[in-house]
Symmetry: C3
């Protein structure tokens, strides 16, 4: 039998002992686990960044993987600690929106049905949402599976790491907590299409400075298109980075429309970041903001 995998995602950085502390706790409880870092360079307290990174990675791991995600500015407060069970992975995270993209997986239904349009409140703010069909969520409430004494400032070490280890050893979810039917979700509007113009937003900036939008390839009009972002117009989609020159648009590896710059950073060049509007229309069409 192969080792169970536990992945770790956090804003703990790499200059201190926080990450390795979690690993020590896990290995002390289950030495057979294979630990895989997703990222520990989530910008401090940036739940939206962490949510996107976790949402990009989990699909490529075996379905019995336990994913631990800790970007947790509310640690010690009344915010809940969650366990999410799906057919393609188990997830441990604070209830603050960090599981948003996992819960928006197309194989689940009913989580984000009301997300269309900018009249839905502030982009990326947390809102309450029902647990979608096809998965189940527990609130971790059983301190007998936690590291004692439990601190008020480091539940990654004291709650999430030991619970992940116990899960990987076969402890059932019912012993770890109580089922819940609502969770917090980041308010990610879906792109809107009106008068032939698709309007989306940048939801992630990657390590290269590529600007990833929430516009799926299926949202992009057929035929030749133009893009606009922050006053810059881009003609046509490139197929790969070396095909473009300067700032370009392409369908990136996440499946979304991306704005990139050849051998450089589109984010720096355009001074654009998360939340910035991106517009797409048939080539030549005017696109007023």
């Amino acid at each position: 039998m192969s080792s169970p995998i536990i992945t770790l995602t956090s804003d703990f950085g790499s200059s201190g002992a926080y990450v390795s502390t979690l690993k020590g706790v896990v290995l002390g409880l289950n030495p057979k686990v294979a630990l895989v870092d997703i990222s520990h360079e989530i910008p401090p307290q940036n739940v939206a960044h962490g949510a996107f990174v976790l949402g990009s990675a989990y699909k490529y791991f075996p379905s019995d993987t336990v994913h631990v995600a800790v970007v947790d500015p509310g640690v010690g407060s009344s915010r809940r600690a969650l366990l999410l069970l799906t057919e393609w992975g188990r997830f441990l995270a604070p209830d603050n929106g960090l599981l948003t993209y996992v819960l928006m997986d197309g194989r689940l239904k009913g989580f984000a049905d009301d997300l269309l349009g900018p009249d839905k409140g502030e982009f990326l703010s947390p809102v309450t949402a029902p647990v979608p069909d096809g998965c189940s969520v527990f609130s971790l409430t059983r301190p007998e599976f936690w590291l004692q004494p439990v601190s008020d400032t480091f539940h990654g070490r004291d709650v999430f790491a030991p619970v992940a280890a116990h899960l990987s050893r076969g402890v059932t979810p019912e012993r770890l907590g109580d089922p819940v039917d609502e969770v917090l979700r980041l308010n990610i509007w879906q792109p809107e299409s009106r008068d032939g113009i698709v309007r989306g937003r940048i939801i992630f900036v990657d390590h290269f400075g590529n600007l990833v939008s929430n516009i799926l390839s299926s949202d992009v009009p057929a035929g030749s298109v133009d893009m606009e972002i922050g006053g810059t117009r881009i003609s046509g989609l490139s197929r790969f980075f070396a095909e473009g020159t300067g700032v370009m648009a392409l369908i990136g590896s996440h499946g979304y429309l991306e704005i990139a710059k050849r051998d450089g950073s589109a984010a720096d060049q355009l001074k654009a970041g998360v939340g910035e509007e991106v517009r797409v229309a048939k080539a030549g069409r005017a696109m007023r903001p």
Copy 2:
């Protein structure tokens, strides 16, 4: 039988091959080892930072773990290479103070008995100290367990990595070196309490900019307290980060009094770092520096 764990702590950074070179050497000698990175982002040559990080992590690892720590500006000189054996872990490091916090573990006695007060010399400078009761230290002197030829600039690769691998395979300390009874220690004064005021110092700044002091929760007076650091007064202890507003004080996950800033960096806000004085007293009491 589960794999033995070897942890690695260094200032090697992540842009080059230094860290992976150690791993290749270890895995070549013992393929069954589980390697865990504690941190490789110790600021270059910063022994005090590395000592604190190692001292924060080791307690959470199984007791047969081999911890390798290499922050080693004196590599190639006459500085010794050490092996420290305790009941809660084995440690390999240059003799430059990197093992200070491990040797100050409360379960060992006699290492830091003379540490009280600022008349003890420069804060964090290295001083000679006796090996405490309850552990043993060896100087690595047997080149037959090293990678040949041994360089003068990279003992992480040529001495510490191969010795760690041999240790994990059961080679006894006596074959690896000779016992010693003194080691170098960073001169970390303990907090001083006088006239109702506890005076400590910042000993570590973490990834979030939290300022960790050397004042233990047991050093803090009972009841309501005020803190002062660099001219800023903080009223009362917060229990967790989301409870405070702006700059706050709390007992952090290391067990020490910490100065933090909600959703930000206390180090940036206060322009404070390692060595800065922190004072604690009952609420309302004047605290002249």
Copy 3:
């Protein structure tokens, strides 16, 4: 039997999910693999930096290791994906010069015979070279071993990771692609010795700001020597970092002449980087540029 090792080298950084995506793909195909990161902090699109890092690390790994290197600005274009087989490791990388130092290994013959001197074209630009004797190279051409659908922007995930996993499970190179007899090489001139002066160049700047040249210790004249770099003269070779004061020269752990600064960065101090000329001659000799 011990786990096969797969190493990873890339410019993917650590703030996103790219690296872990490769790991998920590999572990999904071969859960028994031991994954080791060489570096993911290769500066974006910097093939020369990646080539040096890979070239520094591979020698320390077991000979059946599979090394995956992805610094790949040409992804999606007609650039080939290569598998290099040697007696001391197997290598997967785009055909853009990333394997240059591996192919310059002294145990291979005929790769860099024409490299002497600055009349050989631009330093570090890619040039075509024959596959040397003693190894073999395949172009990956069999999509049945790739992740489907294959993207045009992320062959690390879609081509290199799955092929590495299949290799580690015993799939033969002949099933993965077709043999080739030429590859791209970075144009790294060898040092030139004329009139008693050895002229080399900086080929790598490490995490500490040490400037690594392409001058081997065997290229350095016997006896007392002086070095010159960017108008700064350095008298004599130091043996280790703590022996020198200020800017010094020594034979570093890579085996090359290095310019270093005690407890600091020579790169910052001298404002020097890759490509900068370094001259060595017997002590006291004039060295005009």
